[in-house]
Every structure is written in C-alpha cells, then in structure tokens.
C-alpha cells in the first residue's frame, strides 16, 4: 500500500461529504416527489431563514453529488493501491464539482433576474430571497468552494490538457 498525498486525502474527505449530501438529497427527492411528503432532511446551518447548504429535493441532483463523491473516493483507492492513475479520478471529480458550483451560481443569478427584470418595464418586481430560492446556497456551491484548493494539485494536469498560450517560434 502506498501513502496517498495530502490532496488525495483531502479529496476523499470531500468525497465523503459529497456522498453524504447526495444520499440526503436523493432521500429528500424520493420523499418529496414520489411519496408526497413535505418535510425534508437538512444538514446545514440557518442564516436569516436560509439553510446553508440547502438540500433541495431532487434525486437526480443527489445522484450527481454521489457520483462526484465516488470519483474523489476512487482517487484515494487507486492512490493507495498502486500510486498511479488516481490523478484522473481526482481531476474528473474536481471538474464536476466546479461545474456544479458554477451551475448553482447561474441558478441564483437566473432566479434574481426572473424576479427583478419587470423593474426594467416599470413594473413591480417579484419577491426573491435566498430562503425562497429553489436551490439557494446548495451543497453544490458549498462543496464546490471546498474543492477549489485542489487546483494546486491539479494545476499541472490542467495545463497539459489546456495549454494556456502557444507562442509560435520565429522562423
């Protein structure tokens, strides 16, 4: 067995959180969508009426969180097993985490725009608050922010995949 790096261990802790929040979201989704329940499980803190992170009911969203978590956990598994190939799992998990974080930001921006664009037409805006937003600050954003420091570990790979700048050699 090979000792995993600190980044992989950090990723695994994050992965566990992703799986945990994903399972709760699947539970909330199934309960709310298919069993007609209203109450839902939350694992967060309340700030001015808004739960952070808000685990809105959606089984598919939960599925995506669990998948992201499993990618981080796979990185730990492969890192401990043979010390090779784990970087791809770490990168794939990180990419999904970042894209879902951006999605959460777009969702909030979109809800705000929907609520406030009538002002442009001289009409009364609809009410919007983080507490009433369907997503709010979801696990996608909180865990995505926590995943950002992994960039330091993945920087080399990202540069290899997406070379930043090519300077043509003079002839």
């Amino acid at each position: 067995m090979i000792m995993p790096s600190a980044a992989v261990v950090y990723g695994a802790v994050l992965g566990t959180l992703y799986v945990m929040y994903g399972i709760i979201q699947v539970y909330n989704g199934v309960y709310s969508w298919w069993l007609g329940g209203g109450a839902k499980a939350q694992l967060g803190v309340e700030v001015k009426g808004a739960v952070i992170p808000n685990i809105f009911p959606d089984p598919f969203s939960g599925f995506a969180l669990i998948t992201t978590g499993l990618l981080f956990l796979s990185a730990l598994y492969y890192s401990a097993r043979d010390g090779r190939g784990y970087r791809g799992y770490l990168l794939a998990g990180w990419m999904l985490a970042v894209v879902m974080m951006i999605l959460n930001v777009i969702e909030i921006a979109s809800s705000m725009l929907t609520a406030y664009y009538p002002v442009l037409l001289g009409e009364e805006p609809e009410t919007w608050s983080l507490a009433e937003d369907p997503w709010g600050v979801a696990p996608h954003m909180v865990l995505g922010l926590l995943a950002l420091p992994l960039y330091v570990e993945l920087k080399g790979m990202l540069r290899e995949l997406f070379p930043r700048r090519y300077v043509p050699r003079s002839s």
Binding site: W34, S61, T67, L71, L103, P168
Partner: protein, 680 residues
C-alpha cells in the same frame, strides 16, 4: 440572404478556398474563425451531408471558403470522401487548406499526400500546436515546409493564432500559377506513374484532369476513374496500355492499391521522422479517460453530465423565455383592433389567435439556444465522443452496434439529422435498426413541449423530469432495437472502431456560432412549418362545426369536433379533446403541440403554466409527455426514413410501432402513477 447574393454574384471574382482535413482536427473552428458570421449551412447537391460555405475579405480580395467533409483519405469508398474528392477535381478551388493535427502528424499527412496527387495548390494549417507542445512533441513547421515545398502555417485555431498568416498565404498561393511540391515516391512507382501519365496526356478527352492523379488512380484500379477513362474515345487503348504497366508493378509488389498505400505511409514516416522531435506523452488525457470511461463510474458520470446540461438549459433560459412571453402578451394587447376586421383580428391577435400560438413557440428560442450552447461546450471539450464510447460498450453487450450511438446523439438535436447520420453504418440491417429507432430520441422539438409541461408541474425539478424522459427515450430505443434484432433483422453485429479526439478547452465563440446557426434553423421552422400548421388550426378553431361559419366558441369549433372523434380512444389516459387535437397536429412538427394547446386554451403565455396545473394532474401529464415522446415522428422525419430506407415499409413500421408503443407505455405510466399516487 445578403450572403447568398455575395456568393452568387461575385463567385467568379473571388478566391475560392476548400478546407480539407481529417475529422476532429479543428477544421470547423478554422472555418468559423475565418468567415465569422458570414456563412451559410446547406447540403451538398444530391447528398445529405452538411455543406458549410462562407466568405471573408482580405485586403481587396473576397475569399469564398467551403468546408469539405472530414475524411482520412480521398478514395471513393464513403460519401464524404467522394464529396471532397469530386469537389477538388471538378470545382478546382484556387487553394486547398489542409488542416493537419500536429499531435497526430502521421495519420494526417496521408490525406495531404493524396491532395498533392490531385494537383491541388495546398496550404497546410498545422493546427493544435499548443496541444503538441503540451504533450512534449516538437513539430518543426519550417522543416515540414522545406520538405514538402508547400507553405505551412502553425495555428492554434481556438485562440486565433496563425490565422492572419494563413489568410496571407491563401492569397499568395492563389496568385501563384502553380505549385511544385517536392514529394516523390520510390523509383518503381515514379516510373510507372510517369509512363501512365504520358499515356493519359496523349488522350484528348482526359486533358481536363491532372495526369499524375489519373495515372495513380488507374494504377490503383480505382473503379470510378476506370469508368471515366473507359468512356473516353481513346479509353480502350489507354486502359490496355495501363494494364501492362500495372502488371509489372503487380509482379513486384502484389496488390497495387495496397502497394501505393504502403508507399504513402513510407513517405509519411520519413517526413515525420524529420519533422517531429520528442515522445508523445498525453498522461493527463489518458488519466482523465481512465476516470471518465471507468467501467463502473463512466455511466454515472455521463448521467450526471446530462443532468448538468439540462439543469443549465432550464435555469439559464428561464428569465429570457419569460421576457419573450411577456413581449408577445404585450404585443397582443397593443395589436388587438389594428386590422379593423373583427374576425381577422380575433384569429390573429385574440386569445385563440395565431400570435398567441407563435409567441408560445418562440418563447422557447432561449431554451433551444442554451441547450445547443451547453452541448457544444461539452462536445468541444471532447466529452461527447467519450459518451459515445461508453454507450458502445453497453450496446455491444446487448448485441447492438455502437455505430448507432452517433446518430442517436444527433437525434437528440433533430431526428432528421439522426436518420441521415446512420449512413456511417455499413451493415444494412444495423442501419435499418438505427433508422427505425432514431425517432425515439428526444429531439429539440419535443424538448419545447416537455419544458413547458415539466416547468408547470415540477418547477425547479423540471430538469430532472426531463432527464428521466431522455433516459426513457434511450431505454425504449434499445428495447425496440433488441426486438427488431431478435425478430425481424437477425444477424451478426458489425464491429465498430472509433477515435477519441484529444481534450481541449471549449471555445465560447465556437459554441456561440453553433448556437446561432441552430437558432436560425429554429426561426426558419417557426416561420414556415409551424406557422402553416397553426394557421390551419386557427381556421379550424374559429369555424363552427355545425354551421361552418365564424365562431368565438372554440368548444363548438371544427377543431373540437375533430378532437371529440378521437377522444374515446384516449379516455383511459385521462385526456380531453384539446390534448387529442394537440397530438394530432404534432404530426406536422412537434412544437405545434404547444402552439396548439396555447391557441385552443386561449390563455396568454404568462398564465399558461398556472392554467395547466389547474386543469390536469401530474400523472396524466407525465404519461402525456411519454406519449408525445414515442408516438409518430414528425412529417419530415417520416419522409427522411422513407428516403434513407428506399421504401415506405420501414417508414410505416416506425409510425405503427410508435403509436402502439406510445399508447401502451402511456397507459402503463397512468395506471402505475395512479396506483402510487391516488391523490394526484
């Protein structure tokens, strides 16, 4: 239309450029970067392969660019190869820009050699130089230019690097009388080519063609070229003498066509050895592939990516769809009474009027645009090819060909494109299965219908409801394909080899251009087929069924009468006559389902969701969406199936199984839904 005029009127005065290259080399990006928005998309004459043309100005010169289909060679085995080859031979473009992938020079230079054989004046765009360097390959563009005797421009297309120099070289090469490439094959081959070229040059009727190319093709035994020469007055004599030369090569090398292929690869190998330094080390790409194509996690990642795409589509488009809906509501208010003819006014701007129907359909333009934008980003990144690879693994286990994956993905955009996309499947039975099942793919037209219903009933979870319908469409397609394979079209599955393109940073500009092109197609459809369908419906909805006079009572109209005729059939599904009429008119184009609902309910767009919620329950509407997903493909798709299978048999089979399956699945969903949610 200005572009059509520009191309048509000035064609003779323009520099004409053909963009050639292997698939996935960045040809489209270069095309988009060169032409910007001055481009149009159509089909190659008599073919169903997409043709992209555009123009740009360089100094005093107008330059016309045509994007040839991506091919690996210029033999006449596939439709794409034939199009590319015929264009260069017949249209004789002033310059052929061969886009070459610097990370895979060996494979790409094979096509270049064939372009040189054709006698085309070539400029090489040595693209993806950044990726080559990132994977520790050093490709010497100057050395390549020196060896080939052809201008080589190093480019990084998404960043626009090298494109200005490329424009300059295009004009330079176009002005030059001719080009003298330095490529030569081994002595035996060159002697044979020269001898046959002399024979060909002596034949008057063949003087329009490049003699070196004709010589190589005759020696290779190219069927089309043999026929062409055979038709010439001196053809018989030419073929007899070529046979002698060919016989000598055959004695020494065996199969001459294979010998030429080996010879080209020998030359390519020599060039690559001179030009490329360093070992290719795509560790990051390989590592990422290992995760994204993982045996267990690959599919969940794919489903998660789909969820992200659909959520983004809904979330990002919602405010803009609302704005368009509000705009049409405002427009209706302002325009009522403008014609002075009450009946016409009512038909155009009333609650049951045309503007309401068209406005409802157009309010989905942002949705279509965001979907294509997201799909384009993931495709550009290189993920969609991986998704196809993943699905292939599953399909093969079920005894189905993985080649059907690409048409299936195309079908998510439009079923017609999906049906025509099956041409890449060589086995006839595999191809027919792929054609017949393609209409089950959830196309963007159905997306419009489902978005409205899903948002009305499931609000923020609409994206997930939509994902469930996408998964249902794939599962049903596999199921139908399995039944066809076991019962009607039995046989072995043809093997499938696919190439995974390298990952790259998605280009926002490329995605934006692609999105705009697709949106303009939607506008065109809205202004033709959809408008026509809604006009007919408008007439039916305002014509009294009893007196055939004008009526404002839609329940007494011909449309209602038509719905009531079929309603008993759909009563077990809980439908009213409006849902029935909507699916009937959906045969014209699926977007018409929503336009029909909007017109027949007579509810403004902004109140439509609320109205639907009050009138129906979620179970009925989910089953209704399943019905719309599966039942008859649109009129144009039926025509495409007939065209591609060459008979009505499979077009009718598609319609028949679609209706039966739609009814059964919808009924099953209703029954299960009501058992699970009795209160719904």
């Amino acid at each position: 239309m200005a572009l059509d005029k520009a191309i048509g009127a000035k064609r003779e005065l323009m520099i004409r450029v053909a963009l050639s290259g292997n698939p996935n080399v960045g040809k489209s990006v270069i095309f988009n970067k060169l032409t910007g928005s001055r481009q149009r998309v159509g089909n190659w004459p008599g073919k169903t392969v997409e043709k992209k043309e555009g123009v740009y100005r360089y100094g005093e010169k107008e330059v016309y660019v045509v994007d040839l289909p991506g091919t690996y060679s210029l033999t006449a085995y596939s439709v794409e190869e034939r199009i590319a080859r015929d264009y260069i031979i017949r249209e004789k473009p002033d310059v052929v820009v061969d886009v070459v992938d610097a990370t895979n020079l060996e494979r790409n230079l094979y096509l270049l050699l064939q372009l040189i054989e054709l006698g085309a004046k070539v400029v090489i765009a040595l693209n993806k130089m950044d990726l080559a360097e990132a994977s520790r390959l050093r490709v010497d563009a100057n050395k390549l230019e020196e060896i080939l005797g052809i201008p080589v421009v190093a480019t990084v297309a998404p960043a626009g690097i090298g494109l200005e120099e490329l424009r300059e070289k295009i004009v330079e090469v176009a002005r030059a009388e001719r080009q003298k490439p330095r490529i030569r094959y081994s002595r035996d081959f060159e002697e044979a080519i020269a001898e046959v070229a002399r024979i060909v040059e002596a034949a008057e009727a063949l003087r329009d063609y490049n003699s070196r190319w004709l010589a190589i093709k005759l020696l290779e035994g190219d069927r089309e070229v043999l026929e062409l020469v055979g038709k010439a007055p001196e053809g018989g004599e030419v073929l007899r003498r070529v046979k002698e030369v060919r016989g000598r090569l055959e004695q020494k090398y065996g199969d001459v066509e294979m010998a030429f292929i080996s010879e080209r690869y020998r030359v390519v190998g020599e060039i690559v050895r001179e030009v490329v330094r360093g070992e290719k080390a795509l560790e990051a790409s390989d590592a990422l592939d290992r995760a994204l194509l993982d045996r267990y996690l690959g599919l969940p990642v794919f489903i998660s990516v789909l969820w992200i795409i659909f959520q983004f589509t809904f979330i990002a488009s919602a405010p803009f769809s609302d704005m368009i809906a509000d705009f049409f509501a405002l427009l209706s208010e302002r325009l009522v009474g403008i014609t002075g003819v009450s009946r016409l006014d009512y038909m155009l701007f009333g609650d049951y009027g045309l503007l309401n129907g068209v406005g409802t359909v157009l309010s989905f333009v942002p949705l279509i645009m965001t979907l294509y934008f997201a799909l384009s980003l993931f495709e550009d990144f290189g993920y969609m090819a991986r998704a196809a690879f993943l699905m292939d693994r599953i399909m093969r286990r079920l005894g189905l060909t993985g080649r059907a994956i690409i048409p299936m993905i195309l079908g998510f955009g439009c079923n017609i494109a999906g049906v025509y996309g099956t041409r890449t499947i060589p086995d006839e039975r595999d191809r027919i299965i792929a054609i017949v099942t393609n209409p089950l793919m959830l196309c963007s037209a159905r997306l419009v219908v489902f978005t409205l219903i899903a948002e009305a009933f499931w609000g923020p979870a609409a994206g997930s409801i939509l994902l469930s319908l996408y998964l249902a469409s794939v599962l049903l397609a596999i199921l139908v394909a399995l039944v066809l394979r076991r019962l009607i079209l039995r046989g072995e599955v043809s093997p499938f080899v696919m190439e995974l393109p390298p990952y790259q940073m998605p280009s926002l500009r490329v995605a934006a251009t692609y999105t705009w092109l697709r949106a303009s197609l939607f506008f065109k459809k809205a202004g033709t087929v959809i408008l026509a369908g809604l006009l007919v419906l408008g007439a039916l909805a305002t014509t009294d069924a009893a007196t055939l006079g004008f009526t404002e009572n839609v329940s007494a109209s011909l449309a209602a009468a038509l719905g009531r005729v079929f309603k008993p059939l759909f009563e077990p599904l809980g439908w009213d006559w409006i849902l029935v009429v909507s699916v009937l008119f959906g045969f014209v184009a699926k977007e018409v389902v929503i336009g029909t609902m909007a017109m027949l309910y007579g509810v403004p767009e902004e109140l439509f969701s609320e109205f639907l919620r009050q009138r129906y329950d979620p179970v009925t509407m989910y089953a209704y969406m399943l019905f719309v997903l599966i039942y008859i493909p649109c009129l144009a798709t039926v025509a495409a199936i007939k065209h591609e299978t060459g008979s009505w048999k499979y077009a009718l089979l598609t319609v028949a199984y679609g209706v039966v399956l739609a009814y059964l699945v919808s009924l099953l969903a209703s029954v299960i839904g009501r058992a699970l949610f009795p209160g719904a």
